[in-house]
Symmetry: C2
Subunit: 205 residues, 2 copies
């Protein structure tokens, strides 16, 4: 299936899942592509087309059953399981990630954290002990971890990424403000608040 669905469609599915989960929390049981579209600022036609790639989950006229659609989307996105995630870098950002409560009910669990600073290694952040970066490859390989968040300075990020990929990591969320060079079988997503703000200042008057 992955080969047939445009990546841009895949990119919207987590947004649908997030909005549907919210509707469910608000107590709603059924929704429509129109309501979902209004919530997300996406046209209802686009939503129907996107969902039709997966066999369409709704019936014309009666709307989508939210619980069913949530279930299907979780399966498609493979977050009907819990993925272990490694965090590299225990600075302010790494610490905020370790404290974040929003991963577990959406398919992810931070499993371990690594840093190279002797002042940090062995210390605790909440329930996590900071491991030395020298043990990163061993631990990640042993646990079979496929997903990592890189929260180290830009000049260290490529080296960290290379080491992660060597031991089987295939999905990287990169918080370091630089573009990583990775083989085609590895997926990378980027978070750089400055890049996103610079995109908006262009339009400010």
């Amino acid at each position: 299936m992955p080969g047939n669905i445009p990546d841009i469609v895949i990119g919207r599915l987590p947004l649908y899942l997030r909005a549907l989960t919210r509707l469910a929390v608000e107590g709603q049981e059924v929704t429509s592509s129109h309501e979902l579209g209004r919530r997300l600022g996406i046209s209802s036609a686009q939503i129907r087309k996107d969902l039709s790639h997966f066999g369409g989950f709704g019936k014309q006229g009666t709307g989508y059953h939210i619980a069913y659609l949530v279930d299907q989307l979780r399966q498609v996105l493979k977050v009907d399981q819990e993925w272990e995630v490694a965090v590299i870098g225990a600075g302010d950002l790494g610490t905020a990630l370790l404290h974040y409560k929003g991963f577990s009910d959406r398919g992810f669990r931070i499993a371990c954290v690594f840093d190279n600073s002797p002042q940090k290694i062995g210390k605790n952040i909440g329930e996590y002990v900071i491991h030395p970066i020298d043990e990163m490859q061993k631990i990640i390989q042993e646990r079979g971890i496929k997903i990592a968040m890189i929260a180290v300075p830009a000049e260290k990020a490529q080296e960290v990424a290379n080491k992660l990929i060597e031991v089987g990591v295939r999905a990287i969320l990169n918080y370091a403000p630089m573009t990583l060079n990775v083989p085609s079988e590895v997926k990378v997503q980027y978070i750089d608040p400055v890049v996103q703000m610079q995109r908006m200042t262009f339009y400010l008057t």
Copy 2:
């Protein structure tokens, strides 16, 4: 000019600026669309086309002068000035943002932070005093702040956004995991690590 340039092109300019700034830090003075393309995983033809929207900054055969191109891109993106940014929410994430060192040399300066928790109001985070959220509109309007980062829980984010927009905020970086409903003159960018990871798990085997 904004009306004529596709938004997708604008979205790439901060990446060019970031990569060029890095090359400059590494001591390089001249680069090519090929080198930039390799660094960014973008085709050199695309880069030349994107930059041609702004009159093209390079000469065929001799490459781009990095310092000049950096300067031009900073002007185009309007980050040749320093924008004041308000942070709403002084939890783990807001705190990490206040400690982040990477804003100031890229066009932004956090000016103030707000929270609604009596335990937090009046306390310091680094050089910042946490202001009560009741003073948010007054302070933002007085200072003429146009950019805000929302780092409050999802169920409060829309209400906060509405209040920000009322007093002149026109660019929002939303860290709350939900889609905001805003008028067309307001730009929003989103950061939700879970959405970005769910985009990648689809491809994992």
